[in-house]
Symmetry: C2
Subunit: 383 residues, 2 copies
DNA sequence: TTATCTATCGAAAACGTTTTCGGAAACGCC
DNA sequence: GGCGTTTCCGAAAACGTTTTCGATAGATAA
């Protein structure tokens, strides 16, 4: 019935069970097992991208020769090269980056993990990263941790699985353990921290003037006559929070103002939270005459609430915040801030990372501090 | 001197030139060319990721068997599977996504092209895209066109070169030719447009209520007694601009207000530009008593300028804008807007795309319109 | 027994590159 | 003409998977 695939005759072919739903046969002459494949209505095979092999075949040369022509190797006749390049463009050849990456062991892609892409600060950083990366021929893959430690860990794993050449990360505020970072670092993955860095590992870092900025803001408040300055601090776990709190304390100390723990409130950058702090402060016998929020958004929230309650700003309470956005300038009164340059931070971080990737062995981890600017506006100017 | 690589004797070996800097030799007995490679101080070979082959070797099975165990094939003994899984986790095996993608011809990655990541609207869309994509097991690669047509084209090419499985795109305002899109579409790449769509091609689209929202805003102004309503329109080239302008015109027409071309100004969403429009309008004999900006940021700019000049808002001039941000709520007077839901738009677009990718042949392109909301605030409320 | 069947596995091809190594031919020089 | 040289190119391996196809052993049915 069914002819053997080898001897083409059917007289010694017997059935031999089933495999994966198909009838199996055995030719006793050839001692060959085989299955009958139905004529299989041949698919029109959606037009593939042309490959190096296609180009080679079209010219009657070897794939390796085409590769040589494309990659500017010297080991090739210039006429041959020109012909190959001509045909390649003619056939609209585009190298398959996957195959290239697989072979070369590098993807020319960098991974970025940020807490929240919707925060203007991080969006700005991203834009800076994109710019530098693109110019250097790198692609960018972005993940959001949504301020969750477990998501952050998953993000890192996903990026590593995609074989990114390096990692840029700003930790979630939940993150207190850095095993996921240490693991990759041990495997040799270049990693650069920015903004919310981690001091447990030896990576290059880009940070803000957290201490200096806070110091400047608080000193400015003192200069305006404030003596009871409350602070809406950040999550205790974050390094940037404590650095900013240190700046606050240092400014007080310099000017001989005693620290009052009841004026310190640790928030989590969450909406509504600063109002709890405010409630607490307003209930004090001695109310604060100045408020410093380590996140400008918190400052704005507090200011809006104070305005609602008819407080005079800055006369009764002066307000300043860390970080800046258009809104801080447009709100009334406009908010005194320590202005940051997120775009520049992104550029710096990406530059460091790419440096680290390229000079993997000689690269020395360093910490770069981005300049910020004290921008004095109406919310604190008592003159 | 130097022994032949084959016969191991040196007595018939002669020099035969140089290749790539290395001495070349020829053994006349074996008729063999070969080069002498210096003992090459063996590199310690930076610890590779463990592969499927490593796992296979550790267990004495074939790589295909390991693959089967990992992929839940039925063609494997359950004990074997367990052993393989055990050893795989023990050796911390992670599949190489590059190799998988190369083989399967799909990357489980989607590409996104947006004009500007720093615009809160697009950041919101991105967040929505990320959420849906991640849940569906897709990674996201983002590019910015910076409102440049050529950059946009390069972005698309780069993403295609990275072999993304599909494309989400919101066009730059420069883009009037869509050849780069048509080309990829012809090659069978699933593409979904959002916000700034293009009606020349048959793709699935997600749009805002551009017409309806504008209509509602302008009708609201009319309801507040405005009769000379100026419009700060968008770039002529963008579909969303003309849709919004149509909404404006339709509202006027419905209420029997004659269209006055001198009240229409086409801006490019650029900072400072709306002020030129304002200048023009204030120079008119009959000044506008209402202003509609098709971009809320323009509305805010205009409002800030009018306040500087001591205009009464909304009494002398009422202002409304398309789109929303926290700043619109906090500025004084707060701005009446047509509120959008960028996150939801991102979710919808990503869902459509993934649908398109999975059901490539049966997928039918459709246009989905996102609901918006008229949010009436102080800048237009005269009562 | 013998013919068939099932369960389980390995070998090898394939995905699209790049790179290594050697072969063929032509060239130069005594 | 013999020797050393250079130029240009092809074959094949490698990157890490998945998939196809056939092989084998034991089980079952005839």
């Amino acid at each position: 019935m069914v002819p053997c695939k080898k001897c083409r005759t059917a007289h010694n072919v017997v059935k031999a069970g089933f495999v994966r739903g198909k009838q199996r046969l055995f030719c006793k002459t050839c001692e060959l097992h085989f299955t009958v494949s139905l004529p299989q209505h041949e698919e029109p095979k959606a037009a593939r991208q042309t490959t190096i092999v296609d180009v080679a075949r079209a010219l009657g040369v070897a794939p390796s020769t085409v590769s040589r022509a494309l990659n500017g190797s010297t080991d090739i006749n210039s006429f041959t090269r020109q012909e190959i390049l001509r045909v390649a463009t003619e056939m609209d050849y585009r190298p398959n980056l996957l195959a290239q990456s697989l072979h070369r062991g590098e993807t020319h892609t960098i991974g970025v993990v940020i807490p929240d892409i919707e925060r203007p600060f991080f969006a700005g950083v991203l834009a800076g990263i994109q710019k530098v990366a693109t110019e250097a021929g790198y692609r960018v893959m972005i993940c959001q941790s949504n301020e969750s430690h477990s998501t952050e860990t998953l993000n890192v794993q996903a990026l590593v699985a995609s074989r990114v050449d390096g990692l840029l990360i700003s930790h979630s505020k939940e993150t207190t353990s850095f095993e996921h970072i240490k693991l990759q670092l041990k495997k040799g993955l270049p990693i650069v921290h920015f903004d919310r860095v981690c001091d447990e590992v030896d990576t290059a870092k880009v940070v803000q003037e957290d201490f200096e900025g806070s110091f400047a803001l608080v000193e400015h408040l003192i200069g305006q006559g404030c003596r009871r300055i409350a602070v809406c601090a950040g999550p205790r776990e974050l390094l940037i929070s404590s650095a900013r709190l240190q700046g606050y304390k240092a400014a007080l100390e310099k000017h001989g103002i005693e620290l009052d723990e009841s004026l310190i409130y640790h928030s989590h950058f969450k909406k509504g939270e600063p109002l709890l702090a405010l409630e607490k402060w307003l209930a004090l016998d001695a109310r604060p005459d100045g408020i410093f929020a380590v996140h400008y958004a918190n400052a704005i929230e507090i200011m809006v609430e104070l305005k609602k309650r008819n407080f005079q700003i800055p006369q009764e309470v002066a307000i300043v915040g860390f970080g800046d956005e258009l809104i801080a300038e447009l709100i009334e009164p406009s908010l005194t801030v320590f202005h940051l340059f997120p775009f520049a931070m992104g550029e710096a971080a990406a530059s460091l990372l790419i440096d680290n990737i390229i000079h993997r062995d000689t690269f020395m981890a360093s910490t770069q501090k981005m300049r910020g600017e004290l921008r004095i506006r109406q919310s604190s100017l008592r003159s």
